[in-house]
C-alpha cells in the first residue's frame, strides 16, 4: 500500500482536488479575514454557481471554462447585493447573528434548488471530461489539472488586488480597524459588500473549474462547506497563501485517507484535523493570533 506507484497518483490527485477546495476556500478566507464573519451560505452559493454553469452549458451551449467571464461577475453582483440587502443589515453588532442569517440563507437556497430542480444529480459532458494527462506516470484528469492552474492564478490575482489596488488598501483598512476606516472617509458598508462580492466571485470561478470534473445537486454545497471551513481555519483565517496550501494539504489528506481507510472513513481525517486545529492552534498555520 505504500507502493510509490499507488501513492504518487494519490498524492497528485489529492493536490488537484485540493486546488479546487482551495478555490472555494479563498473566497471564504477573504470574507472571514475582512468581515470577520463565517459565511455559512458559502456552500449553498457554490451550489447555485454550479447550477449556473450547468444551465449555461445545457441551455446555451457555453463551455464551462468560457463561462468564467459570465459567472464571475454574476456571482460578484449577487454577493454585493446579498450583503447590502440582507447580511449587512442583520448583524446588529453581534457575530452570532451573522452566523444565523447566513445559515438561514443557505437553507433558503438549498431548498429552493430542491424545489426547482429536484434532487437529481446532474453532470455535463464536454470533450475533455474524460481526458487524462500523463504526469510522471500518473494519469490525472485534465479538468483537475486545469483547476490546479486556476487555483494558482486566482490566488495570485487576489493577492495582487488586495495588496496592490486602492480597493485592496481600503479592504485591508476595514479589516483591521472598522471605526478608523470610517473616520478617514471609507464607505465601510460598500467595502464590505465588495469583499463579500469578491468572495462569491471566487465561487463563480470555482464552479467553472469544478463542474467538468464533478456534478451538481442541491446538497452538493454541504459536502464542500465543512471542508472549506477546515481549510480556512487551517490556513489561518485571512491568509490567501495559507488557504491555498491548506487546500492542498486537505486534498492530499483526503486522498490518502481514502486510500488507506476506504471511501467512507477516509473523510474523517479532515474533520479530525479541523477539530484539532480549532482546539490547539486556532490561528492556523499561517494566521496571526485571532
Amino acid at each position: 500500500m505504500l507502493d510509490p506507484a499507488i501513492l504518487f497518483p494519490s498524492i497528485l490527485n489529492g493536490l488537484t482536488t485540493g486546488a479546487v477546495y482551495a478555490l472555494i476556500a479563498l473566497g471564504l478566507t477573504l470574507i472571514y479575514g475582512v468581515l470577520h464573519i463565517i459565511n455559512f451560505a458559502h456552500g449553498a452559493a457554490l451550489m447555485m454557481a454550479l447550477y449556473g454553469v450547468y444551465f449555461l452549458h445545457q441551455k446555451l451551449g457555453i463551455d464551462p471554462y468560457l463561462s468564467l467571464p459570465i459567472m464571475v461577475p454574476a456571482m460578484f453582483a449577487a454577493g454585493y447585493a446579498l450583503y447590502r440587502g440582507v447580511i449587512g443589515r442583520a448583524s446588529h453588532g453581534k457575530d452570532e447573528n451573522i452566523l444565523l442569517v447566513t445559515l438561514g440563507l443557505s437553507i433558503i437556497l438549498e431548498n429552493a434548488a430542491l424545489y426547482f430542480w429536484k434532487s437529481d444529480t446532474l453532470t455535463i459532458d464536454t470533450p475533455y471530461t474524460l481526458a487524462t494527462v500523463n504526469i510522471f506516470g500518473a494519469m490525472i484528469a485534465v479538468p483537475k489539472v486545469v483547476a490546479f492552474a486556476g487555483a494558482l492564478v486566482a490566488t495570485a490575482i487576489l493577492l495582487a488586488v488586495i495588496g496592490g489596488t486602492s480597493l485592496g488598501r481600503a479592504i485591508r483598512a476595514c479589516a483591521k480597524e472598522r471605526q478608523g476606516a470610517r473616520l478617514v472617509g471609507i464607505n465601510v458598508d460598500h467595502v464590505f459588500a465588495m469583499s463579500f462580492g469578491i468572495g462569491l466571485a471566487c465561487l463563480g470561478a470555482a464552479a467553472c473549474f469544478l463542474l467538468p470534473a464533478y456534478y451538481v445537486n442541491p446538497q452538493v454545497g454541504n459536502g464542500f462547506v465543512l471542508i472549506a471551513f477546515t481549510i480556512v481555519v487551517l490556513g489561518g483565517m485571512g491568509s490567501f497563501v495559507g488557504a491555498l496550501l491548506g487546500g492542498f494539504l486537505i486534498g492530499v489528506v483526503e486522498s490518502l485517507g481514502g486510500l488507506m481507510l476506504g471511501e467512507s472513513l477516509g473523510q474523517i481525517g479532515i474533520f479530525v484535523i479541523f477539530i484539532a486545529v480549532l482546539l490547539f492552534r486556532p490561528q492556523g498555520l499561517f494566521g496571526a493570533k485571532a
Binding site: 446588529h92 452570532e96 438561514g104 431548498n111 434548488a113 476506504g262 474533520f271 479541523f274 486556532p282
Partner: protein
C-alpha cells in the same frame, strides 16, 4: 410562579387533547410539535440561556437514537432501561464535547463550527461500523406494547414525548429561577464580568452542555421508538441540528416557552404551506429559512419577545 402555572396548564391541556381529538393526523401533528419543542428546548438551554450557539446539536440526538436502537437490538435491553442509558450517554457526549471546546476557549463561530465537525465525525463513524448498521442503519423491530415503549395508537407516543417536553420546560423554568440560571445568563451576557463576580464560567458552560446533550438525546431516543428506524443521515445530519435551533430562535431564545411557540409556528406554517402553496419537498424549509433571516433581522428576540413586558421598561 405564573410560568410554573402556565407549564402545568400546558401539560394538562396537551394531556386531555387525545380524549377529544380522534383524528390520527392531528394527534400526530401535536406529537411532532411536542417533539420539536423538546429539541428546541434542548438547544435553548445551551444557546438561548447559555449563549453558546451550536450548529451540530445532532451529535447528541444521534447518540441518543443510536444508543436506544443498539441497546435494544444488540444487547436485548428493555426500552424503559435503554431510555435512561441513552440520556446518560447524551449527557456524557455533551460533557466531553464541552470540556474540549470550553477548555480551549472556543466561542462564537469557532464553537459553532466545532460542533458541526463533531456531528460530521459521528456521522462518518456511524456510517462505517457494523454495530450501528453502517449506511443501511438500524430497523427497530415492531413490538407494540407499553412494556417496550411502543404503542399501537398515537396517544401513547404523545404522552411519552409530552413527559419529556414538560421536563424540558421545567428545566427552563428552573434556569429562570435559580442561582445556576443566573450564573449561566451572566456568562452569556458578559463572561469577564461574570468571572469577576465569582462565577466559574467553565463549569457553568459545561453543566449547560451536559443538560442540553441529555435532553437532545432523549429526543433522539423518542424518535427511534416512534419511527422504528435510524441511519447516519437522520441521526447526525444537519436537518436535526437546524430543526432544533429554528424552534428556539423563532420562538425566542432564553425564554421558557420560546421553543414551544417556535415549534407550533413552524409546524403550522408547514401545514399551511403544504396545503396552500405547494406540496413539494423543500418548500416549507424555504419558508423556515426566510423566517429565520427575517426574525434575526427584525425580531431578534423571537415571538416570545413580543410578549416580554420587561423589554419595554415595565415591571416583570
Amino acid at each position: 410562579m405564573r410560568s410554573l402555572a402556565l407549564i402545568a396548564l400546558f401539560a394538562v391541556v396537551a394531556a386531555i387533547l387525545p380524549l377529544f381529538i380522534t383524528s390520527g393526523f392531528t394527534l400526530n401533528l401535536i406529537t411532532m410539535v411536542l417533539y420539536a419543542t423538546l429539541l428546541g428546548q434542548a438547544w435553548n438551554i445551551l444557546g438561548g440561556f447559555g449563549g453558546q450557539f451550536s450548529f451540530g446539536h445532532a451529535v447528541f440526538f444521534g447518540t441518543g437514537a443510536y444508543a436506544m436502537a443498539v441497546l435494544q437490538m444488540k444487547l436485548g435491553m428493555n426500552a424503559w432501561v435503554a431510555l435512561p442509558c441513552a440520556i446518560v450517554l447524551g449527557a456524557l457526549v455533551g460533557t466531553v464535547l464541552g470540556a474540549l471546546s470550553f477548555r480551549y476557549g472556543l466561542k462564537g463561530s469557532y464553537f459553532a463550527l466545532v460542533t458541526l465537525a463533531f456531528a460530521e465525525v459521528f456521522r462518518i463513524l456511524s456510517n462505517t461500523f457494523e454495530f450501528t448498521g453502517a449506511g443501511v442503519g438500524l430497523q427497530l423491530p415492531l413490538q407494540e406494547s407499553m412494556a417496550q415503549l411502543q404503542f399501537k395508537s398515537e396517544p401513547g407516543y404523545l404522552y411519552t414525548v409530552l413527559v419529556l417536553a414538560t421536563i424540558s420546560l421545567l428545566i427552563a423554568w428552573w434556569l429562570k429561577h435559580s442561582r445556576y440560571g443566573a450564573w449561566l445568563t451572566a456568562v452569556r451576557d458578559n463572561e469577564d464580568s461574570a468571572a469577576a463576580l465569582g462565577v466559574n464560567a467553565f463549569r457553568v458552560k459545561l453543566t449547560a452542555i451536559t443538560i442540553s446533550g441529555a435532553l437532545m438525546a432523549s429526543g433522539g431516543a423518542f424518535y427511534v421508538q416512534k419511527f422504528h428506524y435510524i441511519d447516519p443521515h437522520l441521526a447526525y445530519g444537519s436537518a436535526i441540528s437546524v430543526e432544533a435551533l429554528l424552534a428556539a430562535i423563532i420562538g425566542g431564545m432564553g425564554t421558557i416557552f420560546g421553543p414551544l411557540l417556535g415549534a407550533t409556528v413552524l409546524h403550522l406554517l408547514g401545514e399551511l404551506t403544504r396545503n396552500y402553496i405547494a406540496n413539494a419537498p423543500g418548500v416549507s424549509l424555504i419558508i423556515y429559512g426566510a423566517l429565520l433571516v427575517l426574525i434575526i433581522m427584525f425580531m431578534p428576540r423571537g415571538i416570545a419577545g413580543l410578549f416580554d413586558v420587561k423589554a419595554k421598561g415595565g415591571k416583570r
